[in-house]
C-alpha cells in the first residue's frame, strides 16, 4: 500500500491549501494532492493582473497563510512563500481518481499517475471548476497537446488545431488566427452551442478563410513526429474519410466534467438532482461519509476567505480540538436582540423547532442561513413591507404574529409562529402583493433571496412546503374576496405546477378549454391567428390568470397563450372552477366583468394594424422578463447622446447604457440597457451576493462586488461592464472659464489616467435609485425620445404608437 498520512487534502485551492498549511503548522502528518504543477489552479487561471477581492470584509481570516485583497500575482506569491515556509507536503501532478473508505475507517486514495495513499481523514477542496475534459484518444497527453490557453499572443506562425465548438474554443481559435494557421475541429455540423457573437465570429472567420474548419469530424489520434518540421500530427475521422494534419500544437477546449460524479463516487450524497445543489455537510464540514470533509465552493462556500477559514477549522476538528467557527461572533451578534439563549446552538435549534419549514435542513445549512439572514423584532404595528414594493426577501415567524392586508379584503389575514410570508415575490420576482405589518411580540427571520433560493434548490422538503403554501395563497389572493378558504380548498387540491420554456404553447386557439392558469413565474403573450398570421393581442404578467374565457363563455379557446420567457403556471382544474363560480355568484359577476374588459381590449388591439407587432418585437428582445425597460423613439431621438452622458455623469464616469446598439422596429429602439429582470440573470452566480434589488425594483450592484465578472457573463443583454473609477472632473464653471477639462458630458481626456492597477468592479444601471429625480437618461433627453416603461404598459404603449 502507499504512504500513510493522518490527513490527505485533495485540491490546493484556498480551502485545501489553508488546511494543509494548518496541518503543517501543527506538525500533523499530511499530504496535499494537486493535479496541476502549481497551487490553486482556479486563481492561477485568473487573467494576469486581476485584482482579487477579499469579501466578506466582516469575516476575520483564520489561516496560517496570508490573504488580503490584491493582485492575483501578489496573492499567489504570498501563498507560494507560505507553503514553502511552513514546509507543506504538497505533491503536484497527483490527480486523485478515486477515494475509498475501507471498513476499518482508513481511506484509500488512488491518483491518475498510479500513486496511492492511505489517510485517516480526507479533506476535499476540489472546487467546482472540475477537471478539464481531455481528447480521449491516443496521444492526449503529448506535450504539444494542451487544454487551456493563457495568452494567445504567445504563439506565432504555428499550425494549431483547436478542438471544440464552444465559446472557449471559438474565442481561442479567433485569437490565435491573428498570428497562426488555425484549424478548428467540430464534432457537429454547426456551432450551435456558442454565444451568438462567437458563432457569427467563427463563421465569418471560416468564410474569410482565416480559419479552416472540419465539421462532423472527431480526433482519432495524435502522434509525435521525430522527423520533419512539425512536432506532431493529428489524425481526424471525417465524413469523407480520414484526414491528417501536421501540427505544432493542439488545443482542446472540451469543457470540464463537473466534479459531482467524482464526489458521488466517493460515497458523498447530494440532496437533489438540481445542479446547483451542494452535498449536505455538518457544522464541522463533515459529509455523510465519516471523516470525509468538504471545504470551499464544492460545499457551497464560493468565497476565498470562507474556504480558507474552513480549511483551518477542519484540521482543528480532525486533530480533536474544538474550534469555534469564524462566523460564531457574527452569529452571536445577530442573536443579541433575543434574550434567554445560553448558547448559539440552542438559539439555532430553537428557531428550527419554531419554524417547520426550516426543520429539514442540516445544522451547517442553518448556520449559513442565519449568517445571511437577519433577526428582526418589529414593534406592534410596524410595516414590514408594503404592497407593490419590489423587495424579495423571505420571512419566517419565530415568535408572535404578523398581519397580511390583502387588497379588497376588510380583515387582515393573521399569520402565527411557525408560518412564513414573502414567498410570492421571492418566486415570481414581482412586486409584493400585500402589505404586512407586525403583530404583538413579533420576532422574524428575514432571509435574502439568494440564500432562500439556495435552500430551495438544495432541500427538496423546503421546496415542496413553499410550493404548497404558494399555490393556496395564490388562489386565495385571486379569488378570495368572494370565496372562503374552505370553498377554495377543492380547487387548491387539484392544482398542479406547470413549467414552460420560452415559446412553449400553454394552450392553443380553438382547443376545448378544460383549465385555467395562474401565472406564477414569467409571463405569457396572448395571440390570435388572423389571416394566417399570429397577431399578439396582449401580454400577461406573473400574478394574473389566463384561460378563464373558455370556462365562462365559449367552450373553445379564443386565443393562444404562449410563454414569453421561461414560465411556471399553476394549472387549475376547469370543472372545480366552474363549480366554484356556480356557487358564488358575486365572484362570477366580477370575473365576467374582467372577462368583458379583456375582450374589449383584445378587440381594440386586433383593430390596430401592426399594434401587436410592437409587442412581439419587444418580447423578442426579452422584454417579457423585464420590470422596467428603456425605449427610445427614433423618430424623436436626435442622437445627441445626452442620455449616455447623463448616465456617465451621474455614475462615476461610466455610462451603463449604449444608446446606439440594439434593434429597432417601427421607430421603437431597444438600446443596450438594463431591464431589471424579474429574475435577474446577473444575480445567478454572484459570490458575495452583491447584486441586489431595491424596493422600487432597481437591480443594482452593492459595494461588496469582487469584480469576478460572473454577472457580466450571465447577463444575456450585455448591460454589465467591468470598470474602474475615472478621476474626478472639474466643475462646470472651472471648465467653462478656466478651461479645466474634461467638461460635463465629455469623456476623461487622458485615458492613461484610467488605466492604473485599480480594481475593476462590475457596473450596471441602477435606475438612478440614488438620484433625487429618477432615471437620468430619461430626464436628460431633450426631445422626449427616451422613456422607461414596464411590460404591463406594453399594450397601451403599442396602441399609442399607432
Amino acid at each position: 500500500m502507499g504512504e500513510r498520512f493522518t490527513i490527505a487534502i485533495v485540491g490546493s485551492g484556498p480551502g485545501g491549501l489553508s488546511a494543509a498549511a494548518r496541518a503543517a503548522e501543527r506538525g500533523t502528518s499530511h499530504v496535499l494532492l494537486e493535479a496541476e504543477p502549481h497551487l490553486s489552479n482556479t486563481i492561477y487561471r485568473y487573467q494576469k493582473g486581476k485584482y482579487v477581492m477579499d469579501e466578506p470584509a466582516i469575516l476575520p481570516l483564520r489561516s496560517p497563510i496570508p490573504f488580503a485583497a490584491g493582485l492575483r500575482e501578489t496573492i499567489l506569491g504570498a501563498w507560494d512563500d507560505a507553503t514553502a515556509r511552513l514546509k507543506v507536503n504538497v505533491r503536484h501532478g497527483h490527480e486523485v481518481s478515486a477515494i475509498q473508505r475501507r471498513p476499518d475507517g482508513v481511506f484509500d486514495i488512488r491518483c491518475g499517475n498510479g500513486a496511492t495513499f492511505e489517510a485517516d481523514a480526507v479533506v476535499l477542496g476540489i472546487g467546482l471548476q472540475g477537471n478539464l475534459r481531455k481528447l480521449g484518444v491516443a496521444g492526449e497527453d503529448l506535450p504539444f497537446v494542451q487544454y487551456q490557453l493563457d495568452d494567445p499572443d504567445a504563439y506565432e506562425g504555428e499550425t494549431i488545431v483547436v478542438v471544440g465548438a464552444g465559446d472557449a474554443a471559438i474565442e481561442n481559435a479567433i485569437a490565435l488566427a491573428k498570428q497562426n494557421n488555425v484549424v478548428i475541429v467540430n464534432r457537429k455540423d454547426e456551432f450551435a452551442r456558442a454565444k451568438k457573437g462567437n458563432e457569427q465570429g467563427i463563421l465569418k472567420a471560416i468564410e474569410d478563410g482565416l480559419i479552416e474548419c472540419y465539421y462532423n469530424a472527431a480526433p482519432e489520434r495524435v502522434e509525435a513526429l521525430s522527423a520533419g518540421r512539425k512536432p506532431g500530427r493529428m489524425i481526424l475521422t471525417t465524413e469523407k474519410g480520414r484526414a491528417q494534419i501536421l501540427v505544432d500544437r493542439v488545443i482542446a477546449r472540451l469543457g470540464a466534467t463537473a466534479p459531482r460524479g467524482f464526489v458521488e463516487a466517493c460515497g458523498v450524497t447530494f440532496p437533489s438532482k438540481d445542479p446547483a445543489s451542494v452535498p449536505a455537510i455538518s457544522a464541522q464540514y463533515e459529509s455523510n461519509v465519516p471523516k470525509l470533509y468538504i471545504v470551499g465552493a464544492l460545499g457551497g462556500y464560493p468565497l476565498i476567505k470562507q474556504a480558507m477559514n474552513q480549511g483551518y477549522e477542519v484540521v482543528e476538528t480532525i486533530c480533536g480540538d474544538v474550534v469555534e467557527p469564524a462566523d460564531a461572533p457574527l452569529l452571536k451578534a445577530k442573536f443579541a436582540s433575543l434574550q434567554g439563549f445560553a448558547s448559539l446552538e440552542q438559539a439555532l435549534g430553537q428557531i428550527q423547532r419554531s419554524v417547520p419549514v426550516l426543520s429539514h435542513i442540516t445544522p451547517l445549512q442553518m448556520r449559513e442561513f442565519m449568517l445571511d439572514s437577519d433577526i428582526r423584532t418589529p414593534a406592534d404595528g410596524e410595516v414590514i413591507f408594503t404592497r407593490n414594493d419590489y423587495t424579495n426577501s423571505f420571512y419566517s415567524i419565530v415568535e408572535g404574529e404578523a398581519r397580511v392586508a390583502i387588497e379588497g379584503q376588510a380583515a387582515p389575514v393573521v399569520l402565527r409562529r411557525g408560518e412564513f410570508f414573502g414567498e410570492m415575490s421571492l418566486i415570481s420576482g414581482r412586486r409584493r402583493s400585500a402589505t404586512v405589518t407586525a403583530g404583538p411580540n413579533c420576532v422574524l427571520v428575514e432571509t435574502p433571496r439568494r440564500s432562500m433560493n439556495r435552500l430551495i434548490a438544495s432541500v427538496e422538503a423546503v421546496k415542496r412546503e413553499i410550493d404548497r403554501v404558494f399555490i393556496v395563497r395564490a388562489i386565495q389572493s385571486r379569488f378570495a374576496p368572494e370565496a372562503s378558504v374552505a370553498q377554495l380548498a377543492e380547487m387548491a387540491e387539484g392544482a398542479t405546477l406547470k413549467r414552460y420554456k420560452a415559446g412553449d404553447i400553454v394552450f392553443q386557439e380553438g382547443e376545448v378549454g378544460d383549465c385555467l392558469h395562474l401565472v406564477r413565474v414569467g409571463s405569457l403573450t396572448i395571440s390570435r391567428n388572423i389571416g394566417g398570421r399570429d397577431v399578439v393581442l396582449t401580454y400577461v404578467a406573473a400574478g394574473n390568470y389566463v384561460g378563464e374565457m373558455a370556462l365562462m363563455g365559449e367552450s373553445r379557446r379564443s386565443a393562444s397563450a404562449r410563454a414569453a420567457i421561461a414560465t411556471e403556471t399553476i394549472r387549475l382544474d376547469g370543472d372545480a372552477f366552474k363549480r366554484l363560480l356556480n356557487r358564488i355568484p358575486v365572484l362570477k359577476l366580477r370575473l365576467q366583468k374582467e372577462y368583458k374588459d379583456r375582450t374589449a381590449a383584445n378587440l381594440a388591439m386586433q383593430a390596430l394594424p401592426g399594434g401587436g407587432d410592437i409587442i412581439s418585437f419587444l418580447m423578442a428582445q426579452g422584454a417579457g422578463e423585464a420590470t422596467d425597460i428603456l425605449l427610445i423613439d427614433e423618430s424623436l431621438c436626435v442622437r445627441c447622446d445626452n442620455c449616455e452622458k447623463a448616465c456617465a455623469e451621474t455614475h462615476g464616469g461610466t455610462s451603463r447604457l449604449d444608446r446606439e446598439a440594439g434593434p429597432t422596429y417601427a421607430d421603437v429602439h431597444v438600446p443596450t440597457s438594463c431591464r431589471h429582470c424579474e429574475h435577474p440573470h446577473c444575480m445567478k452566480d454572484c459570490p458575495p451576493d452583491a447584486l441586489r434589488r431595491a424596493p422600487n425594483g432597481e437591480v443594482f450592484i452593492a459595494d461588496n462586488c469582487i469584480g469576478c465578472g460572473n454577472c457580466e457573463r450571465n447577463c444575456p443583454y450585455g448591460v454589465i461592464h467591468m470598470a474602474s473609477k475615472p478621476p474626478k472632473k472639474p466643475g462646470l464653471l472651472q471648465w467653462l472659464l478656466l478651461g479645466r477639462g474634461p467638461g460635463p458630458g465629455e469623456a476623461p481626456y487622458d485615458p492613461a489616467v484610467k488605466k492604473d492597477g485599480q480594481a475593476k468592479k462590475a457596473v450596471k444601471c441602477d435606475m438612478c435609485k440614488d438620484q433625487a429625480g429618477g432615471a437620468a437618461c430619461v430626464r436628460a433627453c431633450p426631445t422626449g425620445a427616451a422613456i422607461r416603461i414596464s411590460p404591463e404598459e406594453f399594450p397601451a404603449y403599442a396602441q399609442s404608437r399607432r
Binding site: E634, C637, L732, V778, R779, P782, T783, G784, S800
Partner: protein, 301 residues
C-alpha cells in the same frame, strides 16, 4: 409614452407663450404714452426687462442641459419652454422697440436676437425631420457596423483584384484610398464619398484593358449599366476572370451603396448639430450686445 418637445405636457409652454404674447399686445395697444411707442416708456421698460430676463433664462438652457443631476424640471420640459418662450421673444422685443430701427447697437442686438431665434427654428425643423430619415437610412445597422463592412469589402475586393491583374489591383487600391467618409464640415454636409469615383475608375480600367487586349467587341460606353458591362466583359476575357470581375463589380456596388448610406448618416447627424454652431455663438454675441444696449440706454439716454 413618448411626447416630443412640441407636445410635452399638452403643449403647456405653447399656451404660456401665447398668453404672454396676447398680454403684451393688449398692453401695447392699450398703452398711450403720448409719443411714439419706444423702450423708454414704462411699458417699454417692462417689456425690455421681460425680454432681457428671457434671454438670460433661455441661455441657461445650456447649463441645465449639462446639469445631469439637476432635479429642476426635466430637460424635455426646459427645451419645450425654450422653444415656445424663445419664439414669443420676437414679439416682445419688437414691441419693446416700438418698431424703431436704426443703424445702431440697439438694432444690432435685435438683429442678433432674430438670427439666434431663426437658427433655433432651423434646429426645430432638423429635430423633427432628420431622426426619422436617419433611422430609415440606417436600416437597423449601426454606423460602426456599416464602416466595418465597408472595410471588409475593401479588403476582399483588394484580394480579388490581386488575382485578376496588377492594374485592376492598383485601381481598386486607389479607389479605397480615395473613399473618404466624414471629414470637414463641408464634406459632412455634402454627403459625398469617393466611391462613385472608384467604380468609374474600375470601369475605366476594365475598358482600357479591353481595348488593349484588342477584343472583338465595341469599347465600353460610359454610363452603361453594370450588368451590361459584365455582359460586355464576358466577351472579352476568359471565364474565370470574368467571374472574378463580376464579383468585383458586385462588391464595389455593394460598397458604394454602403458608403453612400454612411455618408448620408454623417450628413444627417451633421445637420442636426451644425445649427448649434451658429445658434450658440450668436447667442453669446447677443448677450454681449444686450449688455451694451442696456449700458448705453442708461448712460446716454
Amino acid at each position: 409614452m413618448h411626447a416630443s418637445f412640441l407636445t410635452h405636457a399638452r403643449s403647456r409652454y405653447l399656451w404660456i407663450a401665447l398668453a404672454l404674447c396676447v398680454a403684451s399686445i393688449t398692453a401695447y395697444v392699450w398703452h398711450d404714452p403720448g409719443i411714439a411707442p419706444n423702450g423708454g416708456t414704462w411699458l417699454g421698460y417692462t417689456l425690455g426687462t421681460i425680454g432681457a430676463l428671457l434671454i438670460v433664462w433661455l441661455m441657461l438652457f445650456g447649463v441645465r442641459k449639462r446639469s445631469y443631476a439637476s432635479t429642476l424640471g426635466s430637460t424635455l420640459g426646459w427645451l419645450s419652454a425654450h422653444v415656445y418662450l424663445g419664439t414669443a421673444l420676437i414679439l416682445i422685443a419688437l414691441l419693446h422697440s416700438g418698431f424703431q430701427f436704426g443703424w445702431n447697437l440697439h438694432t444690432l442686438a435685435l438683429v442678433l436676437m432674430l438670427a439666434v431665434i431663426f437658427s433655433g427654428f432651423f434646429g426645430v425643423y432638423a429635430y423633427l425631420r432628420y431622426p426619422t430619415l436617419m433611422t430609415r437610412n440606417r436600416d437597423s445597422a449601426t454606423r460602426d457596423a456599416m464602416l466595418e463592412e465597408v472595410a471588409e469589402i475593401d479588403q476582399n475586393a483588394l484580394a480579388l483584384a490581386d488575382g485578376i491583374a496588377p492594374e485592376i489591383h492598383a485601381v481598386v487600391l486607389r479607389s479605397i484610398q480615395n473613399t473618404r467618409l466624414g471629414g470637414g464640415v463641408w464634406t459632412q454636409l455634402r454627403a459625398r464619398d469617393g466611391s462613385d469615383l472608384a467604380i468609374a475608375k474600375v470601369r475605366q480600367a476594365i475598358a482600357e484593358r479591353a481595348t488593349q487586349s484588342g477584343g472583338a467587341g465595341k469599347p465600353l460606353q460610359a454610363g452603361q449599366t453594370l450588368v451590361a458591362m459584365v455582359d460586355f466583359l464576358a466577351g472579352q476575357t476568359d471565364d474565370r476572370q470574368t467571374e472574378a470581375l463580376r464579383k468585383l463589380i458586385d462588391m464595389l456596388s455593394r460598397k458604394r451603396a454602403l458608403a453612400t448610406r454612411v455618408a448620408r448618416d454623417i450628413q444627417y447627424q451633421a445637420v442636426m448639430e451644425i445649427w448649434l454652431y451658429v445658434h450658440v455663438p450668436l447667442s453669446f454675441s447677443l448677450l454681449a450686445a444686450l449688455l451694451g444696449h442696456i449700458v448705453v440706454v442708461f448712460f446716454y439716454w
